[in-house]
Amino acid sequence: MTQQTAGEVAGHPPYLYPDYKSTRLRAPKEPLIILPRTLADVSGPAYGRGRIEATDDDLTRQHDGEPLGERIIVTGRVLDGDGRPVRNGLVEVWQANAAGRYTHHKDRHPAPLDPNFSGAGRCLTDDEGRYRFVTVKPGAYPWKNHDNAWRPAHVHFSLFGSSFRSRLITQMYFPGDPLFEHDPIFQSVRDPKAQRRMISSFDLETTEPEWALGYRFDIVLEGREATPFERPHA
């Protein structure tokens, strides 16, 4: 039997998942205060961030040369809790390079940086809620959580939906990764069906011949029936 912990709702992970060591001192332990629906479904920021540059959705074209690694296309739809498309929503992504190294100054993994890859992108969803990025497949990398700990390859996603409660930061994984069963962050989501909602699927339709493999990743946000506020564009 799993213990119901604060925050463990709707397939989300609990705050405290002791196998993921950093949760031990950071997970709140007091019961959460329930906000009634009337206060929860208030509109949130659609957070138009102003300008999106032409190369923001193509992480392989942000430098003079092309990054090393397996070129991939990641696409999917962002939907709200009623299954309706989230339109004009900001999608922000970040990831390690093909060798499993982030450009971040605190990443000490002794794998090479790629001068042609920064690993950060953003785009807006279209009228069907669709987004699309071109990037390279990120590598797995070690971390200090426990002895011989490795993160499965993943792309971080940050999303704003229609209401304040829709805000989501998650990670997209790749199908069939042998590291899933050893990764406490992935395993913090206990329900296997919910785990599958974090795994992209290989998609031949998205794959472009002689160019790049395609992966599909649909994202469902919480909240509904609200019109987000859009930042006026400068």
């Binding site: 709702v9 906000l35 809790g81 605190k106 950060a120 971080h156 930042r231």
Partner: protein, 180 residues
């Protein structure tokens, strides 16, 4: 049938280049005549500062309107080695609540960090709004006075308010969850 939500996962430690590449801490210019400063620090259950968090605020303007043309009301800040974050913003006005009530002026605060598998969400209320706070539907729904106090910032004078966030342990900040 409604689709099931995508589970949350931690922001991890390496988000800065993607999410904090522009300065998003100034919701208004600090030189704005009505600008206030919100500053604080984030602490873990051992009382140590959390140096790798991201704090987001979302608030109404002085007239209680969200997302108005002249003041969008959204901001983001990282935390530094001492766990500190700060925003230059305007003091929000009271906003409509359920059943014709008014909510006291407040900012919605979300916090993401390595070790948080899902963001925590709280509210910052103002110490100089005692009358409005006493009638606020969210504040009065919290029976524990100590917990309620964690939501009220401290007046530092000169238009500065201090709002520390304690993730865990004695004095833990009150965090919210949305009704299903």
């Amino acid at each position: 049938m409604s689709p099931e939500p995508t589970p949350s996962q931690t922001i991890g430690p390496f988000f800065h280049d993607a999410l904090l590449d522009g300065d998003l801490t100034e919701l208004v210019s600090p030189d704005h005549p009505q600008a206030i400063k919100i500053e604080g620090a984030v602490y873990d259950g051992a009382g140590d500062p959390v140096p790798d968090a991201m704090v987001e605020v979302w608030q109404a303007d002085a007239a209680g309107r969200y997302g108005s043309k002249d003041f969008f009301g959204f901001g983001r800040s990282g935390t530094d080695e001492d766990g500190r974050f700060s925003f230059a913003t305007l003091k929000p006005g009271p906003v409509p609540g359920p059943d014709g009530t008014l909510q006291a002026p407040h900012a919605n605060v979300s916090l993401f960090a390595r070790g948080l598998l899902k963001q925590v969400t709280t509210r910052l209320y103002f110490p100089d709004e005692e009358k409005a706070n006493a009638k606020d539907p969210v504040l009065i729904s919290i029976d524990d006075a100590g917990l309620r106090r964690t939501l009220v910032a401290r007046d530092e004078g000169g238009g500065a308010y201090r709002f520390d966030v304690f993730l865990q342990g004695e004095g833990q900040t009150a965090f919210f969850e949305f009704e299903g």
